[in-house]
């Protein structure tokens, strides 16, 4: 996994609450056995008409949001299905940071396994970020090391994150390799199971 320490990028605002993983990546794309290539299907039915042409009224299709890499959305982002295809699609499309007032649990965890940083900020702060990015091109810098979100006009918001998840992302570690450092503990646990 690619480490993520600090990221600057343009904001894509998606002012909706409860965006579920069925919307992020619809089920017909879950049949693939690869991890790559899901970006083209991101928000598929919001982005595309039934004939496959881009929908005029969906903002991600607007020129001004081309090349955005920080998604800012409403509360409970990523609710529903556990499909890791959702962060795969977001990551493959080019999003590295997602900012929301709250995230669904499984989605939040899945982000860290894929080099995406989910950032929780207060609802009113998120709303103001959305308003700014809706008005004009808006760039943010997210510094994971210092746990700060900044813009060029003086905005500075700190966020919290567990030290474990922070470390995993900063180093881009393979979690299985980290766990296998505790292999003797797992062996001991299993030996105890056999005895009981």
């Amino acid at each position: 996994m690619e480490p993520l320490r600090k990221h600057s990028g343009l904001v894509y605002p998606l002012n909706r609450a409860n965006i579920d993983t069925d919307q992020i990546i619809p089920k017909q794309f879950l049949k693939r056995i690869e991890r790559q290539g899901f970006g083209q299907f991101l928000f598929y039915h919001w982005r595309f008409e039934d004939d496959g042409n881009p929908r005029q009224n969906f903002s991600l299709n607007e020129e001004k949001y081309r090349g955005t890499s920080i998604l800012v959305a409403g509360e409970n982002f990523g609710c529903g299905s556990s499909r890791e295809h959702a962060p795969w699609a977001l990551q493959d499309y080019g999003f590295k940071v997602i900012i929301a007032p709250s995230f669904a649990d499984i989605f939040y965890n899945n982000c860290f396994k894929n080099g995406i940083l989910p950032v929780v900020l207060e609802e009113n702060v998120v709303q103001s970020l959305i308003e700014k990015a809706e008005k004009e091109q808006y760039e943010l810098t997210v510094n994971l090391e210092e746990q700060i979100v900044q813009d060029s006009t003086g905005l500075q918001e700190s966020f919290s994150i567990s030290s474990y998840q922070k470390e995993m992302l900063l180093n881009g570690w393979d979690e299985i390799a980290v766990t296998l450092r505790q292999a003797d503990k797992i062996d001991q646990y299993e030996q105890k199971l056999v005895k009981n």
Binding site: K31, D50, N76, S82, D174, I176
Partner: protein, 470 residues
């Protein structure tokens, strides 16, 4: 005396492999259920790093999401076919047991785990599927994980978990006549919202919960994720033990196991981080009207109006949902006509679900404008239902009688609701496009779905005359 503990504390402590300041806990996993959709990339990850499945005997696979429920062997979609073949190949290569499409144990992963006795009190159970919470009905700690975590559990038989807070959802009193477990969980989510469980493990307690059958408890725990909870469980009791007695994979010394399981129940006086109480008597049959499971009203009520919303965001979300669903504000939910009925899914496809739905349709006919299907949760549910003649009742009424799988719950196979059409569904999610692009889903109980099939619209099943009671 030791401090009273919740069942969550007890299961957590028993599974602690490693604990360290500033890190989540490393927990041992007793049962890992695997299906074709969320596992191929995990097995591929193992292969790339030359890793093995640490405990293949604690891992159990089936195929359910993609499988056709009719003409079982004609899989038209090549990508689906590849995904199923990939599971077959992976299970063989890594030594994992597989209930393949023709296997008598095949079925929806959350139906077969309990059926085979793999699901047991006190176990830690994971699966790359959010409805793994179903197994909590047995007093197991069961939760859905992503594919990277599937790979992690395959390789290490453990998972890193920050211990969630505990939420006691206490259901007092007794459910009214004709009120189901599905109505109960929908009403809980409607009342408290689809985020109230986020960050928590829910323990369902109270008289109304402990008088439910195991299959009803599975319906309740199944939808814990729709409230945002990490898991949902119920302390095991005599109902749990009786269900498990004689099941294939239960411990040989069953009575000793029961003694141990009994000790897992939450202690008298244990405290939770939060508690909500619900009065079972106030619950009516429920119907969802919108695009998440919390957008739900009693069958006697009307669809809400955006004007009733507290905030502008909420107003917008009601507006959007009404538009997607093709409904008018303040329209009585009983006036909504449906074109499809789906009885199935890991929420409501077990034998008792089918028995109750069959009671409603016995001797009646599905309305001409409605296409209705029953998809049993497993091969063995199907066989048991056929042994009782339920298939005949459904078929005579005009239902299609299918083979086991996830089917129209998420429409990954050919069981799809066409754009703009409306389905009364016993499944768990009414998200946009869930049952097909543009499809409109209303979540209900099996009884309500059966009655809707006959009437072509939602009716209060308590007033619906069935030959058994008239």
């Amino acid at each position: 005396m030791d401090k009273p503990k919740t069942i969550v504390d007890k299961i957590w402590d028993r599974h602690m492999v490693h604990q360290e300041e500033g890190k989540p806990d490393l927990l041992y996993i007793d049962l890992h259920l695997v299906h074709e959709v969320t596992s191929p990339q995990a097995f591929e990850g193992l292969r790339m790093k030359n890793r093995k499945v640490r405990r293949p005997e604690l891992t159990y696979a089936t195929m359910d999401h993609n499988v056709p429920t009719i003409e079982r062997h004609i899989i038209k979609d090549e990508v689906s076919k590849t995904q199923m073949q990939t599971l077959r190949k992976n299970c063989e290569e890594f030594g994992v047991s597989l209930a393949d499409i023709d296997h008598p144990d095949q079925g929806i992963v959350h139906v077969i785990g309990p059926e085979l006795g793999l699901t047991q009190p006190g176990k830690t159970i994971v699966c790359g599927d959010s409805h793994t919470s179903t197994h909590g009905a047995f007093g197991a700690l069961a939760f859905g994980i992503g594919t990277s975590e599937v790979e992690h559990v395959l390789a290490t038989q453990t998972i890193w978990q920050q211990k969630p807070k505990t939420l006691n959802v206490k259901v007092n009193g007794e459910l009214g006549k004709g009120i189901t477990a599905k109505d109960l969980i929908l009403a809980i989510i409607a009342k408290h919202g689809i985020r109230f469980g986020t960050g928590y493990i829910i323990e369902y307690t109270g008289d109304a919960i402990h008088s439910l059958s195991m299959e009803e408890r599975m319906t309740v725990c199944n939808m814990s994720i729709e409230a945002g909870a990490r898991a949902g469980l119920i302390s095991p009791d005599e109902t749990t033990f009786e269900y498990l007695r004689g099941k294939r994979h239960t411990p040989k010394n069953f009575d000793a196991a029961v003694e141990d399981w009994r000790s897992l129940a939450t202690d008298e006086g244990a405290t939770y981080d939060a508690t909500v109480e619900i009065d079972a008597e106030e619950i009516e049959p429920q119907v969802t009207w919108g695009t998440n499971p919390g957008m739900c009203v009693p069958v006697s009520a009307s669809v809400p109006s955006p004007e009733s919303a507290g905030t502008s965001n909420e107003k917008e979300s009601i507006q959007r949902a009404l538009e997607y669903m093709g409904l008018e504000a303040n329209q009585p939910i009983s006036s909504v006509e449906i074109e499809h009925v789906f009885i199935g899914s890991c929420t409501n496809s077990r034998l008792s679900d089918l028995q109750k739905a069959a009671e409603i349709v016995r001797g009646k006919k599905v309305k001409e404008s409605v296409r209705a299907m029953v998809v049993p949760g497993s091969h063995s549910v199907k066989a048991a239902a056929e042994a009782e003649g339920l298939d005949v009742i459904f078929k005579q009424a005009g239902f299609e009688w299918r083979d086991a799988g996830c089917s129209m719950c998420l429409a990954m196979n050919d069981d799809i609701v066409p754009p703009g059409e409306r389905c009364a569904s016993t499944s768990n999610r009414n998200f946009e496009g869930r049952q097909g692009n543009g499809a409109r889903t209303h979540l209900v109980s099996p009884e309500m779905a059966a009655a809707a099939a006959i009437e072509g619209r939602f009716v209060d099943v308590r007033k619906f005359a069935s030959p058994a009671v008239s």
